[in-house]
Symmetry: C2
DNA sequence: TCATGGTAACTTACCCAAAGGTCATATCAG
DNA sequence: CTGATATGACCTTTGGGTAAGTTACCATGA
């Protein structure tokens, strides 16, 4: 039997894995875990499905690999900003600026960690929770500080405010994905204008 | 052949449809369109799958029926508030209060219209867009007014701010779903406190 | 009063396509 | 010849959708 291309491409495993992860991250991030099929990822990479299973074991394994690569990136950046000296709203804006810069080439990465169609139990959930908690914890920290400055330390208030903050970031990322022509710099200036509109011009 | 229960329940169609819609709305709203199976809905209703197909035609038909019932409710309420005299932040808070009251028994209804796993083309998308636009248009209107008061009329700024506003409502609804013990009244007071924390205490 | 027949409510058992996952095998460099 | 890269063909499960039949009830007419 003739199999014209089997084994002939000779792409080193690491290169291939990187390529697959790039494509898979984009698919998962744009369409969600449930709506992404392994066959589609294979197609876009120009390879066959079994190769992906050979390298990543399962669809969940593939997703996990995407999470590990993207999560480290995100969490490291947010942690770096958290170590800065900004507090309150300023810290929020600094975090946003960092996110925009980091995610300029791939805003969909953010959605990997807030995908409602991802499995909510098992190894994947653990991995997601690991990063989401790492991100969420820093958000919580920032929000707690902001609320303390305002004299509010009700745990439920803080919890709700954190959810709102993450929701804001989420909707900005979604909006950005629908306006890909915007640069990170433009997004940041836009956010500053929105803030100004809300606070009436003296947000420093 | 013996079929012990066929046709014996004698529940009138309208009653049965209402019951099915209740269950389906909850499932769709909680788990999303993609992750909800018709068989599960049938199970929870204590009936068989074909009865649902008999009454609603297809999974999409069922979803559409949920949308029609819930959408009218939501859009009417938001429109009612829009006719009020509140503007700017106040209008936002009034809308929130209305949403909380309306959705007290079923916060998941909100998510029906912002479900990323729902089909993005076809009859369903039209129905979704109809209501989402009706809701979104009012949001846009309110935001436009708010921004105008602040001297900003950039269309993209307004578009982004609207997205953020809807994202805020969305995250509050999600938070509420995770804290079902909260009453609408409590949610509203919580939101007022969050607003106060942000604005430093003089937000009417 | 009681057969008759129409209709609404309801079910079992099945079909089929999509998608996750596997197996045996092919190519080729060293 | 071995091991890394790679594939076509297949298996299996899940879930949307359907065909065909069953039960209960009610209206009608003798």
């Amino acid at each position: 039997m003739v199999r014209p291309n089997a084994g002939t491409k000779g792409v080193p495993r690491l290169d291939r894995e990187t390529q697959i992860l790039d494509i898979a991250s984009e698919q998962f991030g744009t369409h969600g875990f449930a709506a992404t099929s392994v066959a589609t990822v294979a197609d876009k990479a120009g390879i066959s499905k079994p190769l992906i299973y050979n390298y990543f074991g399962s669809k969940e394994g593939l997703y996990e690999a995407c999470l590990d690569r993207g999560g480290a990136l995100l969490a490291d950046e947010i942690e770096r900003i958290a170590r800065g000296e900004a507090v309150g709203i300023e810290r929020g804006m600094a975090t946003l600026a960092g996110m925009f810069t980091l995610l300029e080439p791939q805003p969909y990465l953010w959605r990997l960690f807030f995908d409602p169609t991802a499995p909510s139990t098992g190894a994947i959930a653990d991995s997601i929770n690991g990063y989401a908690e790492r991100i969420g914890k820093l958000a919580d920290e920032g929000v707690t500080e902001l609320m303390r400055l305002a004299g509010n330390d009700d745990p439920l208030d803080i919890s709700a405010m954190t959810a709102v903050w993450l929701g804001i970031v989420d909707s900005l990322m979604n909006w950005w994905m629908e306006h890909p022509e915007e640069s990170a710099e433009q997004m940041m200036q836009r956010c500053m204008r929105l803030l100004t509109a809300l606070f009436g011009g003296d947000s420093e």
